[in-house]
Structure formats: structure tokens, C-alpha cells
């Protein structure tokens, strides 16, 4: 791929992204938080599907997943089941989030916590967990974009230039139209991602093994363990497959940029259909890396860094046009993930810090848009600063454990929506101690007796126990709070009406 071709394609892509951002800006109807962060709660099925799909799948699908299949063979596909737990959450928890969001005007999960538990502490702790979990992950994505552009252009675009370019492009389109710009861009980016990944799978496997079946047969000849569980490294035992899928699925739903989509949806029916269609759509991202990774193992049997397998095949095996599509697909994956994260973190900071504590009137007034845009810049600057200058051990831990960290909040979210007896004390103790326990497990200060269970699941089990026990031991929430949040979910009340 010549640098000129890459630069021209990136420039055209940038113009398209800006154009869509501007379109989102023009679609904005009212200068309110609800409009800027949730697009006025008008999301239909096609948009919510494309947006959730492209936001959830990051550059990991292109770089990390083929590398993982290279190392583990098909056994890595075991964790693809995570998407089913994610979809289950969409229906079971997302439907109730939709209901309370529409009824009480919540913007994100944390402001639901403040009202449901009548506690700024619950809201504040959940907010801290969300920001701590997302900020480094977001910085990492932006950093990955810089590296991708540098690598693809053989240094014509330097790492710093690539990084600044991606940051500015995402910032501009998010600032222009907020949620609408993000969603419209997500749709286009989802299409590029889909085309890129599927095309790469067919072309690479045709060249390496004469087709999908040929690659599987050749991989089995290289090492028979590549086509069976628990894989060549012996990692993917039943316990590890199930608990990792649980952690990724539940953690993925807990990420604010995903759960927030439930508030933004116009109809409950859309969420129900999303929960059914999403796991099928996800297969289009989860299946191609299997064959790309196996083809890599056949083509380059002794790679030291397996994560380089897809970029190397991109350069060696794909025609320039497809290579460009893949490059744009990787950038799309990064941009869609980052834009969703930026908007979610900003909404949390604006709604739960600025509006809650300093300026309650701003929620429905035009100045909230100015505040939100200033906060967007601060969030991106914070993410980059944290990744570049933050303490290395902490940054590494937060990036690796981003999903499991957020998963601990899910207990409090699901409990708040389903269990009348849940109390703020239970929520606070559950979140603090499960997160602390997770950190201790991650740092190997505590080692659990059963090793084939993911650390996140151990922490979640502790969180559930503490949530239940402490809630039962403390004073129940006031009756008006219970009535406010549970009347709408009460079947008897329908009959009474």
C-alpha cells in the first residue's frame, strides 16, 4: 500500500466522518442533556443494533482476536458465548432501564443509582468505577490508532500525528452533534468493519489454504490441538470458557456506553428485538478472526508476537484496495468505541457532577451543551494523560480488568431494578469490597483454590453475597422510593387499575 493511497483514503474518510457529524448537528432539536447525550430517546432498531455492534467491538477484533486464535486455535471461540450473556442482560436489565429512563428521565446508570438508592455515595462510587474503568481503555484505543497509522504508512504518518489526528477527528464529530453524530457515524463505521473483516477472511484463507476448509485442515496438520478444546495452551477448559464468557458478557453490558443505549431507545420492542438479533449479528465479528488466526498459524508458523499476524497478512496477502478497507475498518472500530466512551463518560461527569452538585438548572437549558463540549475535551485530555503519564501498574491493571471492574456495578444495577429490599448500604459495601477483592486477586495477593474460574466471577460472587447480607441487615429504602420504582413493574397494579 503506497502512503499516498493511504493518505488520500484517510482524508476522504475524514471528510465523510465530519459530514456525518455535521448532519447529526443539524438533526439536534432541543439544547438539552437528553438531546445531546441520548438523541432525544428516539433510537430505532437498525441504529441501536449498528451502534451497539460497532461500539462493543473495538480494534481488538482486528488485532487481538486473530492473534488469540493464532495462539489458542479454535478454542478461543469458546468465549464468543459472552455475547449471549450480554444479550440476556439487554432484555432482562435493559428493558427495565428503558422503562425507568423514559419515566424519570435518567441519562445514565449512575443517576438512576442516586434516585433509586437515595444516595450520592452510591452514585459517586459507581461514577468513579466507570471513569476509572473507561478512561485508560479509551486512551489505549487512541494510542492503538496512532500505532496503526504509523505502521500502515511505514512511518509516513508518525505515531504522534496519527494519535492527534484520531483524537481531533473523534472530538470534532462528537462535539458537533453529540449522540446523533456518534450513532450516525457508528452505522457507517459498522458497515466498513463488516465488509473489511469478511473480505479479509475470504481472501486470506483462499490464498493460504485454498478456502476456509483448507485452512482448517492445514492448521490441524500443523498442530491437531489447534482445532480442539482446550487448545494448544490448555487454557480453555469448561470452567474457564464459561466464567470468561460471563465476565466479558456482563462486563460489556455494564459499560456505560452500552447500557446507555437502553435509555436512548424509543421503544421497548426495539430492545427485545435487539436482544435476539444482536447475538446473531455478533457472529459476523466473532467468526472471521478464527479463520484469519488459523491462516496466520499456517502461513507464519513461528511468530513471536502473535498480535502482529493480521497486520502482517494485511501487508503480504491482501490487495491494496482491501488493505485500505481493513485500515479504515480498524480506524472505524477505534473511533466508534472511543466516541461512545467519550460521550458516556462526559454524560456521567456532566449529569452526576456538574448538574447534580453545581448547576441543577442546566439540565434543561442551552448552556448544558457548552458545558458538555468543554467536558468532552477534558475527558479526552484526561484519557491520554492517564495512559501516557499514569502509574504503569495501575494503567495496566485498569486496561486488563476494565470489563470485570464494571461488572461489579451490574450487581447494584440489577438489584436496584429487581429487588425491593436492596439498600444503599448494601450497594456501597458490595461495590467497594468486590472491587478491592478483584484488585487483590488480580495482583495475586489472594489466590483462589479453583484456578479455572475467572477472577471477575469470584469478585462478583462476593459482591452479590455482601449486597444481599448488608441489605437485609440495614433499614429498607423508604416506601415512596419502592412505590416510585416498582409500581410500574408490578402486575397486580394493572389488575387494580
Amino acid at each position: 500500500m503506497s502512503p499516498t493511497l493511504i493518505l488520500t483514503s484517510v482524508a476522504v474518510y475524514t471528510l465523510v466522518v465530519f459530514g456525518i457529524g455535521m448532519w447529526g448537528f443539524r438533526q439536534s432539536k432541543r439544547p438539552t442533556m437528553e438531546d445531546f447525550f441520548l438523541g432525544g430517546r428516539t433510537l430505532g432498531l437498525f441504529f441501536v443494533l449498528a451502534a451497539t455492534w460497532s461500539t462493543l467491538f473495538s480494534a481488538f477484533s482486528y488485532i487481538g482476536m486473530p492473534g488469540a486464535y493464532y495462539r489458542n486455535g479454535i478454542s478461543f471461540f469458546g468465549i464468543a458465548g459472552n455475547i449471549l450473556f450480554n444479550a440476556l442482560c439487554m432484555y432482562v436489565i435493559g428493558s427495565r432501564m428503558w422503562a425507568v429512563g423514559h419515566k424519570f428521565g435518567f441519562i445514565n446508570a449512575t443517576d438512576f443509582f442516586a434516585e433509586r438508592y437515595r444516595s450520592n455515595w452510591v452514585c459517586g462510587i459507581a461514577m468513579l468505577i466507570s471513569v476509572a474503568s473507561l478512561l485508560p481503555y479509551m486512551g489505549l484505543q487512541i494510542r492503538g490508532a496512532g500505532l496503526t497509522l504509523q505502521g500502515a504508512t511505514n512511518g509516513t504518518i508518525s505515531f504522534e500525528t496519527g494519535l492527534i489526528y484520531i483524537t481531533i477527528v473523534v472530538l470534532v464529530y462528537v462535539m458537533l452533534g453529540g449522540f446523533r453524530s456518534v450513532i450516525y457515524n457508528d452505522v457507517v463505521q459498522a458497515c466498513i468493519m463488516l465488509v473489511g473483516l469478511v473480505a479479509a477472511m475470504f481472501i486470506i484463507t483462499a490464498k493460504v489454504g485454498g478456502g476456509l476448509g483448507g485452512v482448517v485442515a492445514k492448521a490441524a496438520a500443523v498442530d491437531p490441538r489447534l482445532v480442539e478444546f482446550p487448545g494448544p495452551l490448555g487454557i480453555w477448559t469448561p470452567g474457564m470458557v464459561l466464567t470468561t464468557a460471563l465476565v466479558i458478557g456482563l462486563g460489556g453490558f455494564s459499560w456505560p456506553q452500552i447500557s446507555q443505549r437502553m435509555y436512548a431507545t424509543r421503544r421497548l420492542k426495539t430492545i427485545k428485538t435487539l436482544a435476539v438479533v444482536f447475538p446473531i449479528a455478533a457472529l459476523f465479528v466473532n467468526i472471521p478472526p478464527i479463520f484469519i488466526g488459523l491462516a496466520g498459524r499456517v502461513h507464519y508458523p513461528d511468530l513471536k508476537n502473535a498480535d502482529l499476524v493480521f497486520p502482517m497478512m494485511m501487508t503480504d496477502l491482501l490487495p491494496p484496495v482491501v488493505g485500505i478497507i481493513i485500515l479504515l475498518a480498524i480506524m472505524s472500530a477505534i473511533m466508534s468505541t472511543v466516541s461512545g466512551m467519550i460521550l458516556s463518560i462526559t454524560s456521567i461527569l456532566v449529569r452526576d457532577v456538574w448538574v447534580r452538585f453545581f448547576d441543577p438548572e442546566a439540565a434543561t437549558e442551552a448552556r448544558v451543551n457548552v458545558i458538555s463540549r468543554i467536558m468532552l475535551v477534558l475527558v479526552v485530555a484526561g484519557a491520554l494523560a492517564f495512559v501516557f503519564w499514569g502509574p504503569k501498574t495501575l494503567v495496566g491493571l485498569l486496561i486488563q480488568a476494565s470489563g470485570p471492574i464494571m461488572m461489579q456495578v451490574l450487581v447494584v444495577l440489577a438489584g436496584g431494578l429487581y429487588w425491593k429490599r436492596a439498600t444503599k448500604e448494601g450497594a456501597i459495601i458490595s461495590m467497594i469490597f468486590s472491587e478491592l477483592f478483584l484488585v487483590l486477586l488480580w495482583m495475586k495477593v489472594i489466590v483462589m483454590p479453583v484456578k479455572s474460574i475467572h477472577n471477575g466471577v469470584w469478585a462478583m460472587m462476593l459482591g452479590i453475597v455482601l449486597y444481599i447480607v448488608v441489605s437485609l441487615l440495614t433499614k429498607p429504602a423508604p416506601k415512596e422510593v419502592i412505590d416510585k420504582f416498582f409500581d410500574i413493574f408490578d402486575k397486580e397494579k394493572i389488575t387494580a387499575k
Binding site: G78, V92, H102, L212, L242, P279, K491
Partner: protein, 84 residues
């Protein structure tokens, strides 16, 4: 939904989760359709069964009380907004 039906749904969920955990270890053959290794094929079957389970929950099991009558719920919110 009565307690028996809830219990049945939980049992089905546990069984499906067991299926997702890939109990068929060290199985490599047959290769279905010429390119899908057996473990992936079985997983895809469980995947589809799980999707059917979610579809049943979403469209048949009424888990959300009054909210399940979406039109009435939205109309109620609209009328409350008008009043306020």
C-alpha cells in the same frame, strides 16, 4: 409467571450455560460442511438455542409487569408529562 415456570426457565438457562462451557473437550471431528470443526459447530447450535431462549423470554414471558403493555405505559408517561 408462576414459580414452576420460573424454575423451569432457570433450569434451561443453566443447561444452556453448561453447553456454552464447551463440555466436548478433545473433540476435533467431524468437520461440518467441509470447514466448521465439530466443537465450533456444537457451540453454534447452543448459540442458536440460547437465542431462541432469549426470544422466548422477550416475546412470551412477561417479566416487567405494566411496562410489558408498552403502548399503555408510554401513554401514561405522556399524560403525566402533560399534567405537570
Amino acid at each position: 409467571m408462576n414459580a414452576g415456570k420460573k424454575l423451569l426457565l432457570i433450569i434451561i438457562l443453566v443447561l444452556l450455560s453448561f453447553g456454552l462451557s464447551v463440555p466436548w473437550q478433545k473433540v476435533a471431528k467431524p468437520i461440518f460442511l467441509g470447514f466448521i470443526p465439530a466443537p465450533i459447530f456444537y457451540l453454534l447450535v447452543v448459540h442458536i438455542l440460547f437465542v431462541i431462549f432469549i426470544a422466548y423470554l422477550a416475546y412470551r414471558a412477561k417479566l416487567h409487569g405494566r411496562v410489558d403493555d408498552e403502548k399503555a405505559f408510554l401513554a401514561e408517561i405522556e399524560s403525566e408529562r402533560r399534567k405537570s
